[in-house]
């Protein structure tokens, strides 16, 4: 790269030397006057320097000014943002190297810019995703709030440090505290749960929930409200876990059961009224018919006997239906009362069979009691008679020929009493429905007077209340069925209760 410059200098020096040498030679032979020499010398000098300066200027123009001008224009283009432009390299000298370096710098700059743009794009995308997630979260939160707000049950979330995290509208309505008054306060300051009967604090189910102790729901609780006194509630507590599975809060759900209580009272009243108002006139009909048949109102016209006996049967069914419904109502309200005494089973069986024998006789069926012995059971004799009545009554209803057998077997501390018949039996698909309320064997198999469909349900509830159970031991279509119930035996070392 330095070669042209050196060459130029050598040529220039050679010319100078040539000029001096020729001048010297000329002057040494015939020296001119001094002023002419000076003029000549200046002329020569001008003649030599001018072209050299021109050549030099041209040369410098080519190797320095042009690239610098190109640098300038390109740098303007680049600074205006067009990073695709590059400096054109004219030479391999320092200026060319400078241009190359500038190109490299621009290359790096472009890379850096590209990286930056890429990161920026990523950040933007992330921001967008975040905004979407946030919007989704807001929607979910709004949904939760709407759900909690519209719920009729009070929902209260309590944190590990026993402070209230969530307090929905229903909770405000129930307790009288606004959510602002309740949130972040210790729950014991807001939620005053008491035992309904004793009036003492009874909120241990909340603390127990944190430790995972389940609660039996038998207690009647009430919430002591801000200004409405105690309100009876039903309650439950559930846990919320974090991703690691540790408990973060307890959700307490309370329901104001004032209305349910009123309904319960109304139902009780209704049952009581129904009991009295329905059974009294029915008993009047039953009594009058019995008196007519007994001749209390004179001899009965033969033609009237049949319709009158139908009236009597229909009345009996009606009485049975009302009493069954009342029994179900008592069972479901938990008001089934039993009066326990120790009785020999044989007495109960004999008493019921004696009554049922008449009905069986009318159908030409025999009721056979296998020897039972003097086993004594601790039970409610009236209820046991009702159970036997129901089982033997069912057997009679579904048996047209053969016999009904009553037998008892000891089984541990229980006496199993069975009623077997040779009747139509119960199909496999009908068996699971036997003990459900109002269930009856499908009507197409059975064209005969139906009962209430409550008998077996009531009987089983009675037996269970008496400490035993009732089940279908055997049944096959057209061969008959065996129903068995168990009663606790009075052990030898137990005090025998008074029979009354």
């Amino acid at each position: 790269m330095r070669l042209p410059l050196k060459l130029a200098l050598i040529i220039f020096a050679a010319i100078l030397v040539a000029v001096f040498l020729s001048s010297f030679l000329i002057f040494s032979f015939s020296p001119p006057p001094i002023d002419q020499v000076i003029i000549l010398f200046v002329l020569i000098l001008i003649l030599i320097i001018l072209p050299i300066t021109f050549v030099l200027w041209m040369y410098l123009q080519k190797i320095i000014v042009k690239p610098i001008l190109s640098f300038n224009s390109i740098s303007k283009i680049i600074s205006s943002g067009n990073l695709g432009k590059r400096i054109e390299i004219f030479s391999k000298d320092e200026i060319g190297e400078l241009g190359q370096n500038i190109n490299t710098i621009i290359g790096h700059l472009v890379g850096a810019f590209q990286n930056m743009a890429f990161s920026l794009r990523n950040e933007k995308n992330k921001e967008k995703q975040l905004a979407v997630s946030l919007a989704q979260l807001r929607v979910e939160k709004a949904k939760d709030e709407a759900l909690l707000g519209s719920m009729g049950d009070s929902v209260i979330a309590i944190s590990q440090d026993k402070k209230i995290l969530v307090f929905n509208k229903a909770a405000s309505k129930l307790t009288g505290f606004t959510s602002t008054e309740a949130l972040n306060k210790p729950y014991a300051d807001v939620l005053k749960i008491i035992n309904e009967k004793e009036g003492i604090p009874a909120d241990e189910f909340i603390a127990n929930a944190f430790t995972g102790i389940g609660e039996n729901k038998s207690k009647h609780l009430a919430v002591l409200t801000k200004n409405r006194g105690a309100i009876p509630v039903s309650y439950s507590a559930g846990l919320i876990y974090d991703a690691k599975g540790s408990v973060i809060s307890v959700i307490v759900v309370l329901r104001d059961i004032t209305q349910e209580r009123q309904l319960e009272r109304m139902k009780d009243e209704f049952v009581s009224i129904a009991s009295h108002e329905l059974r009294t006139p029915m008993s009047a009909i039953k009594s009058l018919i019995s008196m007519i048949f007994e001749g209390d109102f004179g001899a009965v016209n033969e033609g009237l006997k049949d319709p009158l006996s139908d009236v009597a049967k229909a009345t009996e069914r009606l009485i049975q239906l009302v009493n069954d419904v009342l029994d179900v109502s008592r069972i479901e309200a938990g008001r089934l009362k039993i009066m326990i005494s120790d009785v020999p089973v044989i007495e109960l069986v004999a008493e019921v069979v004696k009554l049922m024998q008449i009905l069986a006789g009318e159908k030409g069926i025999k009721i056979v009691v296998e020897p039972i012995g003097q086993e004594i059971v601790r039970t409610d004799p009236k209820k046991v008679k009702e159970i036997l009545n129901n089982l033997i009554g069912n057997a009679l209803k579904f048996t047209d020929k053969g016999q009904i057998t009553v037998f008892a077997r000891k089984s541990g501390n229980f006496l199993n009493i069975s009623v077997a018949d040779s009747g139509i039996g119960i199909a496999k698909q009908d068996q699971p429905k036997l003990f459900t309320k109002f269930s009856q064997i499908s009507a197409d198999r059975l064209v005969r007077p139906l009962g209430t469909g409550l008998g077996l349900y009531i009987s089983r509830e009675f037996v269970r209340k008496l400490g035993g159970d009732l089940w279908l031991e055997y049944s096959e279509v057209d061969r008959g069925s065996i129903f068995t119930f168990s009663l606790p035996l009075v052990a030898n070392n137990m005090v025998v209760l008074n029979n009354n």
């Binding site: 029915m282 008196m291 209390d296």
Partner: protein, 122 residues
């Protein structure tokens, strides 16, 4: 002639039992509410009282209490004739023990009641 007091607010039931006992030769007095029942029990000294439980104003349980509180009539035998099972009758246990019969109206016939009373009084 044995005297029987029937305390019953339902006129048909009352009529039924009146005629059943009259036909059997009893002297029948009747009361249609608890108050009247107590009054007639005190004044007329029946040999037997048939008493309904659910009556307006003074209930059968209150009548029973009054009878057993009064030394002059406390030994009068009483048979309860009701549709209310004994376990939900609200009669105090010590009084339940003194009751002679407990009949459920739709489970028995008037002739059963008559037989029970006749047998008891004989």
């Amino acid at each position: 002639m044995k005297k029987i007091l029937i305390v019953e607010d339902d006129p048909i039931i009352l009529k039924i039992y009146q005629s059943k006992f009259k036909l059997s030769g009893f002297e029948v007095i009747s009361a249609t509410n608890g108050e009247e029942g107590i009054e007639k029990a005190q004044k007329q000294r029946p040999d037997f009282i048939i008493l309904d439980l659910m009556m307006p104003k003074v209930s059968g349980a209150d009548v029973l209490k009054k009878i057993y509180e009064n030394p002059e009539i406390e030994n009068t035998p009483v048979g309860i004739l009701t549709v209310v099972p004994i376990d939900s009758s609200n009669i105090p246990t010590h009084i339940v023990d003194k009751i002679t019969f407990y009949w459920i109206k739709d489970e028995i016939k008037p002739s059963d009641v008559l037989e029970d009373v006749k047998e008891f009084l004989s």
